[in-house]
Symmetry: C2
Subunit: 107 residues, 2 copies
Amino acid sequence: MNADAIRGHLDGMLLAVLEEGPLHGYGIIEALHRRSGGTLDLPTGTVYPALRRLERAGWIDGSWSTVGGRKRRTYTLSRSGRGELARRRSEWIRFSGVVGSVLGGAT
Amino acid sequence: MNADAIRGHLDGMLLAVLEEGPLHGYGIIEALHRRSGGTLDLPTGTVYPALRRLERAGWIDGSWSTVGGRKRRTYTLSRSGRGELARRRSEWIRFSGVVGSVLGGAT
DNA sequence: AGTGATAAGTAGGCTGTCTACTCATAGGTT
DNA sequence: AACCTATGAGTAGACAGCCTACTTATCACT
């Protein structure tokens, strides 16, 4: 999975994972790995800054906690985050339709 | 259509357009516009450097000609370009499947 | 002379993802 | 005791593709 390909599509995926419930960064990386059938194995250097970006945008809320002696930052999808997720989903439909039709063969 | 979303997926679309036959840069931009139902309206500053990149990679061959007093650079899909296009197509299937399944709801 | 379409290109900026690293705790092995 | 792995979060800097804004050129039409 190429880095350029993912670009611009990660945010939506992060929001989608958080739609199922609050989760911390490390858990989100694992969830992405699981949900993608093992294809997505994103480095922390990609995901953590992305989560901070989403937080700054107000789409997710983060809070610190300590579990098993380790500090976690758990993120929750905000109301505006839900709106953003819906927007990203419709954008994806549009985008994938366009690329599919131009590329041919694929959906 | 966001710039980040397109990133990494343009090359494949360019190769796909050239699969139908040789075409010059300006014509390729129009073909993309037409094939995408008017959605893709890529600036020359994006497409021309991309075509040069594909040419350097050996996936397309370019040659100058003059039509109606105007100079054109017409590109042809090379043999290795066909292979690359096939690779891009299967990558797209994979990628869109992963994003779709993570994003949920879509495709 | 001016405008718009056709045709190609370059320079520089922006930004998201990546690599490579630091810091920290817990548990298990040697 | 020393080491390794997993868990957990983060930063700095590099890379690269797409963008905006610009230049150059020809032709047709007003």
